[in-house]
Symmetry: D2
Subunit: 267 residues, 4 copies
């Protein structure tokens, strides 16, 4: 397989650091350059925490990087503020974007889709790169066609502020697309302590567990006569995102369209 | 081992039927008689659903049974209305009661304790005979000394009316006896959908899952830095109560006091 | 929706009894007749254990049944010996077969496929009608494209003779179709007690747990950097098969081809 | 509460580093000194990786440390080679040892027990400081009195060499102390693929799962008629050991005897 030449924007963030390691350690990937406004003109090993066996140039902005470096894919792990600009710039240079930043508006997505269609070039934007989590959501949506009764339990460390988690809500939304709303449980069911039956989302119930020690976990339970089906994802650390980035980089090379959401490239 | 002679009151109920099978099939148990007001003077096999290889006399009330039959233990699986009367009557005849009915008042329990102490005779009253469930509660109380952060998830079939389940509340009560009240989770934690964080019991959280297919399940989760401990009980059918009845019958023979709760005879 | 007229062959078996209840209790199903060689000429309520509110004729063999009764679907839950004959006979009468018996040879399946294609009529043969189990296998095959490291744990009651279970082997086979064989675990891994690492199937590991109390359960675990994905099916009783039979009956009405395996009609 | 003055031997190891953080961050603990042969005469912050807000002296050996520093407890996290020497030396200076090193012989343990009894001073040696794991083993031993059928599933990352894990074997040993040996499963049970039923330990079965992504997990399953009980421990990182060290330091202050194994100080 020919090497895929990769540029990484945002190498100092947590995911950025993992992505640099991924690009450096994957046989058919080649880390061509990184973009970091604080280290323009340096080599990557001058950024604290990196000790690669190779020299990789750092550019202060994406435009100058693309003018000097020929690449196949831009992995963008920056911020919502620059994500849209980076994505469009890459497409302009016929470099395929794989983007992990969030915050794209509906208009942004439509514009990107139009550009990709015109230029017949691939682009993947994914709010969640953890393949296991994405498969959990995809399978849950599929199972919901056959099981109308569904409860979601998500479990996180006790420093998490919001309940339910974003992934739990996203899962429920994906299920709601294919499931008729249904009030679950006995019709005369009664909470003797408020909140026992969890959050109600379109008739489904979501339960948020918070405990020190936990990292990020979710299970989706489906019940029908005499059986239950459970789909569970456990995320132990940020390395879990990298297999998804790898699949996205490999897939975007063969795409001629715009794709939003990793679930749409997993078969 | 010498056989333990057993009388069973309430043989037609679900637990009663299981208890009859237990007494008939356990090598060192001997089913001496059953008490059932509807079948006075009959043999047990005349009651619908029984086909024992032996003949066991049925008495219409406990007094006449005890006047005619010498026994070691009365297993009472009747109703709250007659439970107290049966227990006292058995003690009067020096027959040790093993009682699964609920509804005893504080006064009742004190009176029974006094009688047992005076007569130096054993008596066990247990609201829950499922040894696994009782151990789950006992272990949870023990673990709570070392883990202050605790969440309970109980899962039942969707025909259950109350949430949380009685066992979940009992578990939380037993934990609260040994744990200082503590508000769990992040202090600025926020529910974006009401109920997500479950029921609050003394700072612990209880989550009630209801799905067709499920039977009766509970797990208690304990978290601290870098680790979690989980204790789970799954009850699949009513046979689960019988091992507890068996242990209670064997134990009551060696007791000279009154015991309330199976957890107090499990070491 | 127009009612689907159903004939059931094998009404006295465990699955047959459940299927009769299903056909009688589903609004758009109509139980037109049953086939049972022991009760030719009777009504269904003359067979022990049935108390339907309707009269349903019993035929001693399928041919005479099909000559007298107009039906849409034959649900065949008999034995391998008569399964093939019943399936062909039904097709001859343009009645669509939904077949739960096993033991079809490769030749049998090819012959049935040819007949269905010629007559442009649907037929479904499914060795496993538990939708949850079939989805577990299907999802496992899908996940195996992204997770090369896989272990299967199946858990059954301790009266089961064979280990691993048929479902575990079928799951491993379906995964092996899409996964390159890979020896898992550390290359210098060592069993200090023989068997600890379970059964080896194409590099995957299968573990068989047997305990009293358990019914039929399986979980498939997938691991990669920093994450695991788990798919679990719990079967508590035979009612779990009926949702699959229902989906098959509904689907076969719109099919013009032969389908082997429920997984191929679940989208 | 008066502060407990602590000396830590072996501060550079993984557990040693965590213990230094524990002693520095626990309100009623005071880190009096550390022992590290490589950094004699330095301050702790001169050892790579430490940035404490306080200055803590480093001694090249325990004797000189104890001659200069008055302390209550020695936390020894060194190696089997020096563990015994350190423990005896501390006792000689009336400093209570809390020891995490392994490799003590039966003679060593007897000698230490004799010294502690004579001097009426506490000493705790614990091969495993993860309270959750120790409770899992303790509860398993207790449950085994009521459930004769037991299977252990331990799950670890795929770089682990030995199967089963040391904790799984220790758990089985503790269970075997109270359980009569029993061949589990159906008496005619048959493995169609070798190893499916796992490792046999006194009739119990142990299954070792190895997957990338996993850290260190174990569940012990107990089954009897109609019910199962499951006790599970998940260890996500080394911080999990520290709550056990903390409990041991607090407990050893009130002990006048020698204790081997954390399970013997957890009530």
């Amino acid at each position: 397989m020919k090497s895929i030449k990769v540029i990484i924007a945002g190498p100092r963030g947590r995911m950025g650091r993992e992505a640099v390691m991924l690009a450096a350690n994957t046989e058919h990937f080649e880390l061509a350059a990184v973009v970091d406004y604080k280290f323009d003109g340096k080599q990557i090993n001058e950024i604290q925490g990196f000790q690669l066996p190779i020299e990789v140039p750092v550019f202060g902005n994406l435009e100058s990087c693309l003018q000097h470096i020929k690449a196949d894919v831009l992995i963008d792990l920056t911020t919502p503020e620059v994500g849209m600009h980076h994505t469009k710039t890459a497409l302009q240079y016929n470099v395929r974007p794989v983007v992990g930043t969030t915050g794209f508006s509906k208009n942004d997505l439509e514009e990107l889709e139009r550009i990709c269609t015109e230029k017949e070039i691939g682009c993947i934007i994914a709010p969640n790169f953890a393949i296991g989590a994405v498969l959990m959501m995809k399978f849950s949506q599929m199972a919901a066609k056959y099981f109308q009764d569904i409860e979601i339990i998500e479990l996180h460390h006790d420093q998490k502020l919001d309940a339910p988690s974003g992934t739990a809500v996203k899962t429920a939304e994906m299920i709601a697309e294919v499931r008729e709303a249904k009030k679950q449980g006995h019709q005369n069911e009664k909470e003797t302590i408020t909140g026992a039956r969890g959050a109600d989302f379109d008739g489904m119930h979501i339960h948020s567990v918070r405990l020190p020690g936990l990292v990020a976990h979710q299970q989706v339970l489906f019940g029908s006569d005499g059986q239950t089906l459970t789909i569970r994802h456990d995320s132990y650390n940020r390395a879990s995102f990298m297999s998804g980035v790898k699949v996205a980089v490999e897939t975007v090379m063969n795409l001629k369209t715009f794709v939003y959401g990793l679930e749409n490239i997993l078969e």
